[in-house]
Symmetry: C2
Subunit: 436 residues, 2 copies
């Protein structure tokens, strides 16, 4: 196998994932070459603080801070982009592609926002852009959907694709603590950033969902059409109530095929406890995919971290190494479907989605309250699955479970309920997904 000359790789960025990629390639060089049929060598690194990289890689290869020089280096076959961000990263990736280099990236924000431009240029230039590491870390979920489930009309994808929020929800439930306390703890453990907005408000999950939806349904990336809601408004009493009702609250990314279009949404959900995904705890990730032939499948693993993410980067390296000599027409398409066969499905605004709902509110503890609320719901054609009343000292907490309603109608009903004289709180609304 050794007659093939080594593939030459340039690495942009040497942070957590960059150093992990170096370490995995170095440690498992022999095992990886036995698979790939040739050596894969990082020959050049460009990073903002070269000294840190030099401490790890020594002086056998070129390390500097000239990111542009790397993507213009004619001796490099594959560029790995691990610097993050969407401005400089976009510029570097486009330059690399223009120079005929294959690109591997873990940058979900970049692809969710600029993916259509990047994939178009890559097709024109006959190069590959691989992004297994951009979604769910080490779990080979891109490959599973794009290549493992090609027989299927995908019905839905549902994923725990942000470890930070799953860690926070797990801790809130296990320790009965409020959101703010657990967030602080997550920050001190390094599971949440100093500015945690992207994670806790669901934006990171929405970037990843954008990519999953593209490869599941064969649509262009459309980040701006994803409904996004985070977990910062969740109260311990909702998590506890869910538990009593035999549900767990999880932040899910959901891409659902309906008869006349798609739903793309990220928000907290009540998920039945008996579903495997409800038992995915802490920083772990899991993605469920339901196809019309295969039915329900699930993929589980570490969604972040140095070597788990590097595992995905290196898997892409091996793939590109194998496929780069194939004629472009026979490679796996970037978005799972041929570039000229992407679909233009309607993506529903949030008012038009169909879901089940958990509603919680505080009311005066007097007769007739349940009946009046039920009347409002009935007027909006919403049928109630269950009503649970929990009397407190000087008020009552009521929970309604609503089965399969249009969100617009539920929001209308909530508006009216909040105006009833005996209602003493805003209505907390959490969607429920049964994943059938």
């Amino acid at each position: 196998m050794s007659h093939l000359k080594p593939i030459r790789v340039g690495l942009l960025g040497f942070g957590v994932v960059g150093s992990g990629t170096w370490n995995v390639l170095a440690r498992n060089a022999e095992e990886i070459a036995r698979r790939a049929g040739r050596q894969i060598e990082i020959v050049r690194i460009a990073t903002r603080t070269p000294s840190k990289a030099i401490d790890v890689v020594g002086d056998q290869i070129s390390v500097d801070n000239d990111l542009h020089a790397l993507v213009n280096d004619p001796s490099i076959d594959i560029v790995i982009e691990l610097i993050g961000g969407t401005t400089l990263a976009r510029e570097l990736v486009l330059t690399a592609i223009n120079n005929g280099k294959h690109v591997i990236t873990a940058n979900k924000a970049l692809l969710a926002i600029h993916g259509n431009e990047i994939f178009k240029l890559a097709s024109d230039k006959h190069v590959m852009v691989a992004f297994e590491a951009a979604v769910a870390g080490g779990i080979p979920i891109i490959k599973a959907i794009r290549e493992g489930l090609t027989a299927n009309r995908i019905q839905w994808v549902a994923g725990i694709i942000n470890g930070t929020t799953n860690f926070i929800l797990t801790e809130m439930r296990e320790k009965g603590l409020p959101f703010a306390d657990v967030l602080k703890q997550a920050q001190s453990l390094g599971y949440a950033e100093a500015d945690p907005t992207f994670d806790i408000e669901g934006v990171d999950a929405a970037h990843k969902l954008t990519l999953l939806a593209s490869i599941a349904f064969g649509i262009p990336v459309q980040f701006d059409k994803v409904y996004v809601e985070g977990i910062s408004h969740l109260a311990p009493e909702d998590i506890e109530a869910a538990d009593r009702l035999n549900y767990r609250i999880k932040l899910l990314g959901l891409a659902i095929r309906r008869e006349t279009g798609l739903e793309l949404r990220v928000h907290p959900c009540l998920v039945p406890k008996h579903k495997l995904i409800a038992s995915v705890e802490g920083v772990m990730n899991a993605v469920m995919v339901k196809g019309d032939a295969v039915q329900e499948t699930l993929y589980y693993g570490a969604g972040a971290g140095s070597e788990p993410t590097a595992s995905a980067v290196v898997a892409d390296l091996v793939d590109v190494t194998r496929l780069h000599t194939a004629d472009p027409e026979h490679r796996v398409p970037h978005l799972a479907f041929q570039a000229d066969a992407l679909a233009d499905y309607t993506i529903f605004p949030i008012d038009d989605i169909i879901s089940s709902y958990y509603l919680r509110l505080s009311v005066e503890d007097r007769p007739g309250v349940m009946a009046e609320i039920a009347t409002v719901l009935a007027k909006e054609n919403i049928s109630i699955n269950a009503m649970i009343q929990d009397p407190k000292e000087d008020y009552a907490s009521i929970i309604f479970l609503i089965h399969q309603a249009k969100e617009g109608s539920v929001l209308q009903a909530i508006k009216q309920i909040e105006q009833l004289s005996f209602v003493r709180s805003k209505v907390t609304m959490i969607r429920m997904e049964h994943l059938l």
Copy 2:
């Protein structure tokens, strides 16, 4: 994309999976072509009872019972082998390969036993043999290990890879029924064959484990070296005791890398309840893979059935369609590692494996019993993790949990314990795996 001419496929066998493959390809033809970049057409079917196939496919394509004519038909690019068995299937597959055709098969027994011969010929003839459907039905586990985890030195694989036995164990636990009763029920539901030996004695799981171990470690298929033990000896009281100890009993296929060799074994195991795989119930399958970079991952889905298995067959069709024009040197190797880079690891006989153990026996209910047994174990250098005594009417049931011992020593100790005067039963021994 439509300038590429259709790929021509011949189908051997039209049973559960064959008809499923036809149905999925027909129903999702457009979606599949959007992915593959061309049409995939079944143009010929050979099956023992053509009339059944004709009822489904009509008269637009050639259907007869001449299996040999199909593999010799020069107009066919890819042969799908779904007839099962290891004699005629071997002959047909070898002929197809000799004729330069790519082969897709769901036949785990064929590959576990004759894989080395088949893959060798395929390499010589520059054709692909794809077998995603041979392990865990619709779960793309072959692809995940072979392509998704290429960065890793795989540490172990542990799978629930036989739905029949998992269904039986689930029912035994949920309903407290003995093995024989549940087996009958499984047979009437069609989850177990009239002759269930292959499933319940672990042979089917061992075929699949043989393939998983090959692609995980890069070794030739070595079915004869797999230790195989089924579930027919399991008693309801063991399942119940496991439950009280916070374990579930599962039939696992295990392929474990040790410093100086490999363990390949199929047998019932106590698995900690908090592990996701312990919650995989009924006929569902799941495979855990631990790699040194990615750490623990899990893949879950339907392990059998018409369309779930067809999902894997068709995924292979799309893969072969994409890759068949690539130069053979750059295709994904059959066993994940290059054919000239397979390893010759020692595979340990069962006496040399390391595991934890659950031992249950009946003894006279008198003082000193525990001490004497503990002395026997100590002499064999076996340390006890826990002892639980459960007094019955005129005897006592004792359970010992043993942490990390060599199986040979445990078997020696059991022999001695069974000779102690106060011991009134054989010792039931079940291995425990903590999957760390």
